[in-house]
């Protein structure tokens, strides 16, 4: 693996990304909407009277898991809802790379630039590595930025205990570990779909399949069935690593020089 060639690809991808308004808008939209939604909800709830959160009589009352019961109805509910939102922040590294990767690969098809590119001494692995890094890094950075921004905003709109729960180890670790893993997974799906299916939308649909378990888990959390703890986090990490290895292996296998060259018309 020749690092300077990988670097050349990354530089080119980022230069191109910076000039692609569609991709830039897509990349900015999701984080902005999520951060605004999370902070807006917290701001509203903070200003709602305690009585409304009573699980039996209040209009916003919810059944709380045992771990949160001791916080009281209002704080407990806010933490619960915030926990669910943290899953949505994890959707950022999952949703963005598929756009970036699909654009970067399908873009090469549209401009017919792949043939001159493959006529250089670059290896398929180098090209793929460059493209994957170029898609994963901005998505992860944006996810982390959104998390930090939400935490900072939370200090302003909600009580310190909510902030403390938002940055408890399960979430910081999840952002640190799952963020990149989701991004990698989604990029690999983008590569597979766009090198095989000739259609950016198909790539996004495949990635949507991976979003389902995440949303499912977030619903279970909201309904008080599951409480996120370190044990669960480790299991999720292990599963994600395995799925990643499988999907990346497939992506590398499917991304064959001659196939992509002769079938990408």
């Amino acid at each position: 693996m020749n690092e300077s060639r990988v670097q050349a690809i990354i530089t080119k991808e980022w230069l191109d990304m910076g000039k692609n308004k569609m991709v830039l808008i897509m990349m900015a939209l999701l984080p902005v909407i999520l951060v605004a939604m999370i902070l807006g909800t917290a701001w509203l709830m903070q200003r709602t009277p305690e009585a409304d959160f009573d699980p039996n009589t209040g209009s916003s009352g919810m059944a709380l898991p045992a771990e949160l019961a001791e916080l009281g109805a209002k704080t407990g509910t806010m933490v619960l809802i915030n926990d669910q939102y943290m899953f949505y922040l994890l959707l950022i590294p999952m949703a963005l790379p598929v756009y970036i990767a699909a654009y970067s690969i399908i873009g090469e098809k549209e401009t017919r630039s792949l043939e001159p590119l493959l006529a250089t001494p670059i290896t398929t692995a180098e090209l793929l590595t460059g493209k994957i890094i170029a898609a994963v890094v901005p998505a992860v950075v944006l996810a982390w930025l959104s998390y930090l921004l939400t935490a900072a905003g939370m200090i302003l709109v909600a009580s310190p205990i909510i902030v403390a729960y938002m940055v408890r180890p399960v979430w910081t670790l999840s952002m640190a570990l799952h963020g990149p893993l989701f991004a990698l997974l989604s990029t690999a799906c983008g590569v597979i779909a766009s090198s095989r299916l000739n259609d950016a939308r198909a790539a996004q649909q495949i990635t949507a399949l991976f979003i389902v378990p995440v949303i499912g888990l977030s619903m279970a959390v909201l309904m008080g069935r599951v409480y996120i703890n370190l044990n669960l986090l480790l299991w999720a990490t292990a599963v994600l690593v395995l799925v990643n290895v499988g999907v990346l292996w497939l992506a590398v296998r499917l991304f064959r020089r001659e196939t992509i060259l002769t079938r990408w018309k």
Binding site: S4, K12, K19, T111, P116, A119, T262
Partner: protein, 311 residues
């Protein structure tokens, strides 16, 4: 420089290139002619180690395609059928990427050199998508030259251009000749091949013939002169046909077509004989067969074996 040995390429049963053996010498400009779908681009892709042959092999710059593909790619430059530039990136960045991928030492210097050489230096910061087709084609040629390859493949370098831009590109290609660089050009433009190439090959799945443009013409027609006469002179034909160096004589509108071994040597004798025989000679001209005519004749000739191959 390029040595193709029995190169064959099938795409799912479709025979694109059939048993092609060919040698292109160092410093030579070789024209590759053939109709649409003849397998020109496919051959070029095999020779630049982009796709693998179904069977057969080739040596390019001493490296074998297939086993030393990376070395082949490092030592050749390829201008693809479509320029394939990145439209949102500027000219400098488009070239910079390729200079880096080829491991060029002085990336900036080499990029500046070629942008200047092709009159694109002042436009270096503009997105390439805003360039005219001619400018894009020049940039794409520059991109293939950045690493100073010993072998240059040009796939239809002027086909998408207006006559003006085509001339600029053709002139530039002419400047690339004779610097030890071997150039392999696919083209449909026979005049271009005539002007640029030292030798040419005509292909239609199989390689039909390889020779210099002149020899391709001569091989088909021999050499002949047209003699224009003020009025037809009966009996003249037999007199001329009796000359030892004349191979055939035929009457044409306004005169005679005379095929002979070497017009430069035999024309004086021919003219003297004509005048002595009482012919009123107006003009004597060399009959020029354009390569185009040769091409069509070769294509017609190749029809018969062609149907056998596919049958």
């Amino acid at each position: 420089m390029i040595q193709a040995m029995n190169l064959t390429k099938r795409f799912n049963g479709l025979l694109a290139v059939d048993d092609l053996s060919l040698e292109v010498r160092e410093g030579e400009v070789f024209g590759f002619l053939g109709p649409n779908g003849a397998g020109k681009t496919t051959t070029m892709r095999m020779l630049s180690a982009l796709i693998a042959p179904t069977s057969g092999t080739a040596l390019v710059n001493g490296h074998q395609i297939g086993t030393e593909s990376q070395a082949v790619r490092a030592s050749v430059g390829l201008l693809t059928e479509t320029p394939g530039l990145y439209p949102r990136l500027n000219a400098e960045h488009n070239l910079g990427l390729f200079a880096k991928l080829h491991g060029v030492d002085d990336v900036d210097g080499q990029v500046r050199r070629y942008l200047t050489l092709l009159d694109l230096w002042t436009r270096r910061h503009d997105p390439v998508g805003s360039f005219s087709k001619g400018m894009q084609q020049k940039l794409a040629i520059a991109r293939a030259l950045l690493h100073e390859p010993l072998v240059l493949f040009l796939d239809e370098p002027t086909s998408a251009l207006d006559p003006e831009a085509a001339r600029v590109v053709r002139d530039f290609i002419e400047t690339l000749k004779g610097r030890g660089r071997t150039i392999f050009i696919c083209t449909h433009n026979l005049n271009e091949a005539d002007r640029l190439c030292d030798r040419g090959g005509v292909i239609r799945q199989r390689l039909i013939r390889v020779d210099t443009p002149q020899a391709l013409r001569q091989g088909l027609y021999g050499q002949s002169v047209l003699v224009r006469l003020q009025q037809p002179a009966p009996g003249l034909e037999t007199t001329i046909a009796g000359l030892p160096f004349v191979s055939s004589v035929s009457a044409v509108e306004g005169g005679l077509r005379i095929a002979l071994e070497d017009p430069e040597i035999h024309n004086p004798d021919l003219v003297r004989t004509l005048v002595e025989a009482g012919a009123a000679v107006q003009f004597v001209e060399r009959e020029a067969h354009s390569l185009e005519q040769v091409y069509f004749d070769l294509m017609r000739e190749s029809e018969a074996p062609e149907t056998e191959v596919t049958a």
